[in-house]
Homo-oligomer: 346 residues x 2
C-alpha cells in the first residue's frame, strides 16, 4: 500500500481582472497517495523550488492571444502551474527514474503527478538547485535563445533591455556584454538600477519611473540609436524605442509585462511606421521552440557560471504559503531579481 | 548655345495636414536651357511617365519617421518628386548616353536634371514603357522582393494582401498564386473586388468598407488562419490580422496607407502580444535595399508578362496638368490599379 501524505497546494480561485491579488489564490491541504496510477507514463514528484514568471499572468484569464494561445488559462479550483525543480519519487517513463532531479512544468503543491513532455533531467548539482528555475531553466534559455540566436547580435552593437533586472533581463544584458555589445537597461527602482550598473555590468541603466519623456531618455542613453531591443514590457516604452531604433534594427519580443494587468486591453502602439523606414525586424518567440537546443545552452551557461563570467540574483520566498505573495509582487516590481519559492530544501 | 524651352512643372506648395488636395500643388511654367552645367555627372532628361505612389504622402510633411526618415519632405516651392520613365537628352555620366530610356527618381515637370544614383536603363521596350513606373519599376520590385524574398513563402500557404488592387498588391497576389499559395485580398470598392477575383486570379476578395468586424471577416476568409500578411494599410486591419495569424506567420510591412492622412498621429495597434504567442516575424522593408537584385527581378517578371502569366492594370492620367488630381485620388481610393501620369508619349 502506498503511503498517504498531506499535500499543501496553492489553488487558483478564479479568473483575474487587473492586478492579481494574493486572495486570487488560496492555500489548501489535501491528502494524496504517493503512487502513480497503474500504466501511467507520467512521473510523481516532490516539488522543491517553484518559479514565479510574468507569463503566468496571461494564464490567469481566459486567453485572448497571450503566451500560450487560447484555452491555456489555469483551471479555477486547481493548483497554479509553472516551472519548478523537483525530485522524482516514482517514474512511469523509461527516461526518468526514482531519485532523479528534474525541472519542468509542475504544480504549485508539495507533490505533483506531471507529464514528461517538457521535463529536463538535472545532471549538474555543483550550482544552486534553484538556478534551474532561472539562469539554467526557462528564463535563462529565454534570454539566451532570444538574444544570442534570434537577435543576430554583433560585437559593438547597442542593446537596450527593459525590465532589465528581472529573471530574463539581467541575463540578456550579461550575454550581450560577453559578446562585446554596449548595453543599457531600464528598471523601476534605484536599487535595481544600481544592480544593473554595479553587479550585472551594464554600461548604463535608468529608472523609467523617473523619466517623463521616454523618447528623450532613450536619445540621451543612445545618442547613436538602438540596434537591438529586448522587449519585456510593451506599451509606451515600445513606442519610444521605435523612434530610436537604428536601420536594420531588431526587436525581440519576449514579453509585455506592462500590459498584462490592463483591464481595457493593451495600450495602442503608434510608431510602427518606423518598421519600414528603418527596416526593422520585430519578432516574437517562445523558448519552447528552442528546447531541442537546451543541452548546448546548458553547457555554455554553466561554464560561464563556473568561470565567474556571469552572476545571477534571486529573490527567494520561503514556503508554499508565501507563493501567492511572491507571484503577485512581480507585477508591482517589488521583487529584486529572479523571484522563486522554496517548497522544500529536502 | 543650348535651346531654351518652356518647362511645365507641378510645384509642391507647402506641407500638408490631413488628406492632400489638388490645391496643395500648382502648375507653373518656367523656361530652362536644355543643357547640363559644365562638369556635371548628372543627366538631363525629358520626362515621359510619372508614378503616383502612396509613400509620396509621407514626403508631404516634415517627417516623423515615414519611409525615408527625417528631412525627406518635398521642398515647398519646388517640383514634386517621384519615380518616372524618361528619355536622356544629355548625359554627364559614362553609364548613360543621349537617347537612353531610363527609370528612376525624377521631378514632376517636363524636363529634369537628375542624379544617376538610382537610375535604371530600360533595355526591353516590347512591353508598355509605362510598366516601368509599375510592374517593372519600383512597385513591381517592392512586391517581388517583399513577398518572394522577405516573406519566405511556401506552396500551399495562406496569404492575405490589403490594398490588393493597387500597384503593389495586385502583383503580390499574382506572385503568390504563381508559387501555389492561397490568396485573399481586400479593397475598397466592388469594382476592385471583382478585379481581384476575375482579373488577377485571387482565390477570394472582400470590400473592407462593407465589413464591420474585420476580425470576424478574416475568420470567415481564413478559417485556418493567415500565414503571410502583406501589409499595405495599417490601423484596424493590422490589429484584426494579428488575431488571425498562424504560428510562425510573417507580416511584411510595406506601407500603412490608412494612416498617412491622420492629423492626430497613427492609430494605436493593440494586439502585438500575438507576435509572441504565434512567434510572428513582422518586418519592414524598403525596395531600395534590394535594387542590386533588380536584374534578376526584371528577367523573371518580364518573362511572366511575355508568357501571359501575369497581368497589370493601370489607371492612366493624361498630361502634367492632371498630375495633382491623380496623386490626390490614390488616397481616397478612386484610382483603379496602378496610378500614373503621362507627360509625353514622345
Amino acid at each position: 500500500m502506498a503511503e498517504e501524505v498531506s499535500n499543501k497546494q496553492v489553488i487558483f480561485k478564479n479568473y483575474v481582472s487587473g492586478f492579481p491579488k494574493e486572495s486570487d489564490m488560496e492555500i489548501r491541504t489535501t491528502t494524496v497517495k504517493l503512487e502513480l496510477p497503474p500504466g501511467s507514463t507520467a512521473v510523481l514528484v516532490k516539488n522543491l523550488y517553484l518559479s514565479c514568471d510574468p507569463y503566468m499572468r496571461t494564464r490567469m484569464k481566459l486567453s485572448d492571444g497571450g503566451y500560450l494561445g487560447v484555452n491555456s488559462a489555469f483551471k479555477p479550483g486547481s493548483p497554479v502551474e509553472g516551472t519548478g525543480v523537483a525530485r522524482i519519487l516514482e517514474s512511469g517513463h523509461p527516461d526518468f527514474k526514482k531519485g532523479d532531479l528534474v525541472w519542468g512544468i509542475t504544480g504549485w503543491e508539495e507533490y505533483s503527478v506531471i507529464t514528461t513532455e517538457t521535463l529536463f533531467k538535472i545532471e549538474h548539482t555543483d550550482v544552486p538547485l534553484s538556478y534551474y528555475t532561472g539562469i539554467l531553466g526557462m528564463p535563462g534559455a529565454t534570454a539566451y535563445f532570444g538574444f544570442n540566436e534570434l537577435a543576430s547580435p554583433r560585437k559593438g552593437e547597442s542593446v537596450f533591455v527593459s525590465a532589465a533586472s528581472g529573471a530574463v533581463g539581467q541575463l540578456v544584458g550579461q550575454f550581450a556584454k560577453l559578446l562585446g555589445c554596449r548595453v543599457v537597461g531600464s528598471a523601476g527602482t534605484k536599487e535595481k538600477v544600481d544592480l544593473l550598473k554595479n553587479k550585472f555590468g551594464f554600461d548604463d541603466a535608468f529608472n523609467y519611473k523617473e523619466e517623463h519623456d521616454l523618447n528623450a531618455t532613450l536619445k540621451r542613453y543612445f545618442p547613436e540609436g538602438i540596434d537591438i531591443y529586448f522587449e519585456n514590457v510593451g506599451g509606451k516604452m515600445l513606442d519610444a524605442v521605435l523612434l530610436n531604433m537604428n536601420l536594420h534594427g531588431r526587436i525581440m519580443v519576449c514579453g509585455m509585462i506592462s500590459q498584462y494587468n490592463n483591464t481595457g486591453g493593451s495600450e495602442g502602439i503608434h510608431n510602427l511606421m518606423n518598421l519600414i523606414s528603418k527596416r526593422i525586424r520585430m519578432e516574437g518567440f517562445l523558448v519552447s521552440d528552442y528546447y531541442h537546443l537546451y543541452p548546448k545552452f546548458l553547457e555554455t551557461v554553466i561554464s560561464y557560471i563556473r568561470e565567474g563570467k556571469i552572476v545571477y540574483v534571486e529573490d527567494i520566498a520561503e514556503g508554499l504559503e508565501s507563493a501567492p505573495n511572491a507571484l503577485v509582487k512581480i507585477f508591482t516590481g517589488e521583487n529584486v531579481g529572479k523571484q522563486l519559492v522554496v517548497v522544500s530544501r529536502e
